[in-house]
Symmetry: C2
Subunit: 240 residues, 2 copies
DNA sequence: CGTAGCATTGATTCTCTTCAAGAGGTGTGG
DNA sequence: CCACACCTCTTGAAGAGAATCAATGCTACG
């Protein structure tokens, strides 16, 4: 563990992800202001609930390490997974300006999250035009991501949905400057199925089919993309 | 045609929808400021394109009368309808803070829309905390609506999706203080099918089944809800 | 009044879901 | 270190639901 990280109070400048959480053009003073309102992020164990549906909506969260899912419990008892969040991504935007949390956020593995109090974020964003613009941008990006996912959900067959999900996940890895062809799926097949509107068995079979035709290899949660172009062709999802 | 509407420049205070476009608590001065940046809204004919995918993203729109849809053209040639917009609703939030428009907006019938230039909206929102908060709120509401729709898309069978859509549309009618049990569907069955991830024939059949069991009556684009409770029970979508 | 687009209805095919069983992996306790 | 139990993932067979293809009926508009 880094000596700096262990002894100092957290500062966004020390975090390799600050160019993901905030615009790359963000000034150091702006980062200072933001860092000041972020509490010390704890390490949360696996399956830990970060916020629960119905909670007071007063905080948004940035994932620092690990991963999390957001989900809603449906009246019929099933669970709908609305999103997965990786390091550098901001979670809880659907609660900004709302009374109560809509969904429940749960860690998928040991995870650290930075808590950003909404009241202070919105006040700060009035002083920092860059921050305000950034908030609009990440919210509209979230809406765009939702449209992409609707495309997957409405888009027909299981292979397309799974391929589209993998392509999207790969793009998010490269955004973090990680290899885009070697993916780890931190979520269970059931979560993935709920997210994609498929039974977990169908997810498993779709992964198997994609592997059969040589586009990927599957080894449990570890996925390797062998033919990114072929995968995109099946996903047919590059319409952004 | 109203003599006032014809002779005066538009002002939001003259518009019965201003409490929908903006918070009910909005002061008259704030409305003055907002009205000042809104151009004179033209009456657009049916099937008119308001903005097109790829256009410069510089404006958001509020529907004043009529209705519109937003859609994306998929690589395979099909069209994905991402949303329908009724009077008092704001369209184009997914473009706020982005370079280009993601989707294409088209009127479904003769429609008037108020154009709000993004640059001036975001500048104004720095001076008016209420407006900033409102923008965050309508964007997060849009995200929440998307989650609801994903629930419908992932939620299994055709009847559930159609019932859920009708329940949601009914709620939006009552929000405008209109009767919630008498709906007019301004969009074609094909648009509705694309929106719900169903073939247009399946939409037709689902409407027929809902009518068969006495929950609604269907007469072309005119829908009457006979048993709102029963419809909600099928939709199972009251998890907001 | 006629035409063109839109909506409904029917028959068939195909995909996914469901139910069910087995395999692989992981963590715990002996 | 091994054995067992638990959980997750995979694989199989049967059934249900929607997509597709195709034809008819309706509506609106010129």
């Amino acid at each position: 563990m880094s000596h700096a990280a262990a002894s100092h109070a957290l500062h966004c400048l020390d975090c390799g992800l600050h160019k993901l959480c905030f615009p790359p053009t963000f000034s150091n003073e702006a980062l200072d202001s933001v860092a000041a309102i972020i509490g010390q992020p704890p390490v949360l164990p696996r399956q830990h609930v970060i916020y629960r549906s119905g909670d007071n909506a007063d905080t948004i969260y940035a994932v620092r390490s690990g991963s999390a899912k957001t989900s809603m419990l449906l009246p019929d008892g099933r669970e709908l997974v609305t999103g997965f969040y990786l390091p550098g991504e901001v979670m809880g935007l659907e609660n900004l300006g709302q009374e109560h949390c809509l969904s429940t956020a749960t860690t998928l593995e040991p995870t650290t999250v930075c808590a950003l109090p909404m009241a202070e974020v919105s006040q700060l964003s009035r002083q920092l035009p860059e921050l305000q613009g950034h908030l609009f941008q990440i919210m509209s990006t979230e809406i765009r991501a939702d449209y992409q996912r609707m495309h997957l959900l409405a888009g027909t067959d299981a292979d397309t949905r799974v391929a589209g999900f993998l392509v999207g996940l790969s793009a998010r890895q490269t955004r973090r400057r990680l290899a885009g062809d070697n993916l780890r799926l931190p979520m269970a097949r059931a979560d993935l199925g709920s997210h994609l509107g498929l039974a977990l068995e169908t997810v498993s079979r779709a992964l198997g089919r994609l592997a059969d035709v040589g586009l990927i290899t599957v080894s449990g949660k570890q996925i390797r993309i062998l033919d990114a172009g072929g995968l995109q062709a099946i996903a047919a999802a590059q319409c952004a």
